[in-house]
Symmetry: C2
Subunit: 127 residues, 2 copies
């Protein structure tokens, strides 16, 4: 899959072997979804809530219009970070925790594999 930046050109293929694994996991869409402070707030609220929440409930954590909250949730959903389920008039959102955790760990593992840092087996709990 060829990435294209917003200026049209670009057709990067990565240098070589090991970095390919990182390339696959480092999706700008994922990070883009997390780079807005309000989206982080919404995600934290949702994560901390421990249950599915409606748009209105989540709105209380951000001083922004409900419509904007709805749009932010859409961005997070499109990035696969949260998912939604409609029940009656309301839409309930939940964090795709398992998937997000897996994504984060696979990026970490891929980075570990391609950079010349400690191998996974003897990784130290360095702080």
């Amino acid at each position: 899959m060829t990435q294209t930046n917003k200026y049209g050109r670009r057709g990067r293929q990565l240098r070589s072997g090991s970095s390919g694994a990182v390339a696959k996991t480092l999706d700008p869409k994922f990070f883009k979804a997390l780079c807005d402070p309000n989206r982080i707030s919404l995600l934290l609220r949702l994560a901390g809530c421990g249950r599915a929440c409606t748009v209105s409930e989540l709105n209380s954590c951000c001083p922004i219009d409900l419509s904007v909250v709805s749009r932010h949730l859409g961005v997070l959903r499109d990035a696969g970070i949260i998912e939604s389920e409609k029940r009656g008039k309301q839409v309930y959102y939940t964090v795709c925790a398992v998937e997000v955790i897996a994504t984060l760990r696979s990026i970490a593992n891929a980075l570990e594999g391609c950079c010349c840092c400690e191998p996974k087996s003897r990784q130290e709990k360095k702080k």
Copy 2:
């Protein structure tokens, strides 16, 4: 530390206990640094290179002006993702792999701790 969004207000303190750990790790600055495709390219190039690289070397992986590359590297450095060292006329950049990996894993762990997903010990390979 109180977060402030670009509209001035905002002073979120998270709901409660466990999500605080996620809040500490979910820094928009970190994600913001990774949400640009050119910065991802630079990071991949640097990671795949396996050694310190100069700005000029890294420039070859992106069809953008050298000055822009320099700025992108600055963003990555400010986010703690890469670090720089000046040697003579040149500036060598390297990935802070250990730190980045630790950050990713701590986010994953915090998320695991605060969401009601499977505990780490018996997490199933669902899906």
